[in-house]
Structures are given as C-alpha cells and as structure tokens.
Amino acid sequence: MPSLKDLKNRIGSVKNTRKITKAMQMVAAAKLRRAQDSAEAARPYADRMNAVMAGLAGSASGEGAPRLLSGTGADQVHLLVVMTSERGLCGGFNSSIVRKARIAAQELLAQGKTVKILTVGKKGREQLRRDYGQYFVAHVDLSEVKRLGYVNARGIAQDILARFDAGEFDVATLFYNRFVSVISQVPTAQQVIPAVFEEKSVEGVSDLYDYEPSEEGILADLLPRGVATQVFTALLENAASEQGARMSAMDNATRNAGDMINKLTVEYNRSRQAAITKELIEIISGAEAL
C-alpha cells in the first residue's frame, strides 16, 4: 500500500506528463495545419505534371521510349525508398510504413530478387536495421530541415536518378504514409521508376498540341522532374501524416493521463480517509479504555 506522500508524488508526476502531452498535441495540431497547407499548395503542380506526362507517355511508349518510362527491361533489382519521420512519439506512424516495406522486401527476396533500401528519416532506419541492415545503400537525413522544400525532394530524386543511370537498380518504389485524416493515414507503396500512370489518361491528348522541341525531348526533360515531384508529394503527405499521427497519439496520451489522475486521486482520498478513520478509532478506543 503506497503511502499518502507516494500517491501525491505520483499524481504530481502524471499531471506533469499530461501537460507535456497536451502541449505536444497542440504543437502537432499547428504543424499539421501548416503541413496540410503546403500539401494543398503542391497539388496543382503535381496534378498538372501527371496529366501532361500521362498524355505524353501514352504516345511515346514502345521502341525508343526513355528508360525512365520503359524500364531497363529487367525486374531483378528493386530499390525501396522508405520514408519515415525523424522523431518518435507519433503512434504507429513509423511502424506502419516499416511493416509495409518489410512485407514487400520479404516477398521480393522470396522471389529471388535483389533488394536495396534507401531510408529517409532515422526512425525507419532504426527499425529496419536489424533485419535488413545489409541491404541499406543510402540514408537521407532530414532532421536539420525546418521546413520541407522542393530542394529536399530534388536532392533525393537526384540521388535516385544517379543510381538508376549507374544501373544500380531496375525498379524503384516509394513507401510513405498517405494522409487521409487526423485519425487515418494509409501506408502506401508507389512505384516511381519505371513511371506508371493511372489508366484514366485521356487518349489522343497529345495530338492536340504542338511540341517544342519535340515530344520525346519534352518527355525526357519531364520524367526526371516527375520523379522529383512524386518524391516531393510523398514527403509532404508523410509530413502531414506524421503530425496527424502525433496529434492523435498525444490526444490519447493526454486522455489516459487524465484517467490515471482520476484513479490515483480516488485512491489518494480513500487512503487519506482511512488514515483519519484509523486515528479516530485509536483516540476513541483510548478514551474508552480509561
């Protein structure tokens, strides 16, 4: 049975914890709004980019298509780009991405393919190191980045493209969390090289336009940009998801701390009452004994 003083200390410490989680929740809420805004602001660019590329890709596929579009012709070496956060305390955010990447890696290895892993964000790297450490090829550290910019995405994309040009892999897939709402983030695997487009691309859109310099020239110019854009979108979605996940995790923590405080307070009051009753009984029985 903990003493009154112990109980009081514990209530105090849980109250402090609650203050911290509450503050973290509010910070995450503010950051979430900003992350959502930048994800929103990036959407027109990405949408238009995809639309134009899909139109061009439809007409340029076949012989002589750029390798970024048609692939290397092989399907042997897979590059998994696992994007996670730099900080913890965000619920299942990192674990869900890592789980998805792990399943994909297992499947590929079971099929006898070669797997290479490029990690973005240290949390995923830590979780994957034990089982898949030998497949790591590179790591991108974004912990110094205050505000995600296109520059960051371009850096990652350039790294990926340089590896592709050097023939280090055949297929690249991004793993990140797509933001649906504060309580729901969907771990997503998205193949970026060779480029895939949704089927909804309009047929024959390319006939409508004049191209300068040429369709192939434009496509060759756009595909690397497309990779950077997709990486950027993924980074932004991930950032918004991270804050969303942290917000709901901290909301839960705050609520749990509240419950715990209530329980401890009841226990504290009960023991205080018991102590008073005990003293009274001692006094009364002492008086009766006289």
Partner: protein, 132 residues
C-alpha cells in the same frame, strides 16, 4: 473570341499567379515566344529566363529556372521548377543559381556538358535582363 486568357503560374511549393492576361512572354527552350488568346495549343519546355505577363492592369515579371508551359487557346499554365517575382530576385539569388548551374556543369557527363553550359549562359543572360 475573348481577348484575354487565363494565366496560371505554379511552382512545386505554391501557386504564384492566377490572373487573366492579354499576353504572356515565355522563355521557351528554343527562344522566347509570346502567347496571346487563340494561340495554337502547344507544350514547350522552359529555359531559365524572364516570364512576362501583361494585362490591362500592367505587367508582372517572374524569374523562372526551368519547367514547362502548356498553352491552349484560352489558358496558359506554366509549371516552373522555381519561380520568383522579379522584384524579389536580388543579386544573391542569381549568384546562387549561377553557382549551382556551374557546379552541375562541372560534374556533367560529356554528352550533357553542352546542355549544362547552356544553362549557365542562360542564367547569366537572365541576370542581365533582370538588370542586376
């Protein structure tokens, strides 16, 4: 036919402009072109240069470093990798761009060398055009 067209300038990070314009001067890959309403539908890549939008209220200029433009009869969308209003583009912005382009030109493969050097020259020319 309407005498204005809808002009949108977006960079990956934000939408910079969405206005009605009478004419838009675009630094296309193979030379500047000016598009007005009713222009033949065209898709072109951009070289680093100054993008000028004119409408009844006057004209606005932007420094763009690359990307592409989609022109239809009634609208122009410019997707620029990097776009800065000309008023905000100071000497240091250009210095950074030139330094970046130069470092890229140095590590470029032989077959890309010419393109990378053209990039440097384009940016230097753009700097002069912007009056720095």
């Amino acid at each position: 036919m309407a005498d204005t067209l809808q002009f949108d300038l977006v960079s990956p990070e934000r939408r910079l402009a969405s206005v009605a314009a009478t004419e838009v001067q675009i630094p296309a890959a193979e030379g500047d072109m000016t598009a007005m309403a009713g222009h033949a539908p065209t898709i072109t890549t951009l070289r680093p240069g100054i993008l000028r939008v004119s409408n009844a209220q006057g004209s606005q200029s932007f420094v763009v470093t690359g990307g592409f433009a989609e022109i239809t009869q009634t609208a122009i969308s410019v997707l620029a990798e990097q776009a800065i209003p000309v008023e905000e583009a100071t000497g240091t912005v250009f210095d950074d761009l030139i330094a970046e382009a130069k470092s890229l030109a140095e590590i470029a493969l032989p077959e890309d060398k010419a393109a990378a050097e053209k990039m440097v020259n384009d940016i230097v020319a753009m700097r002069h055009a912007a009056g720095h």
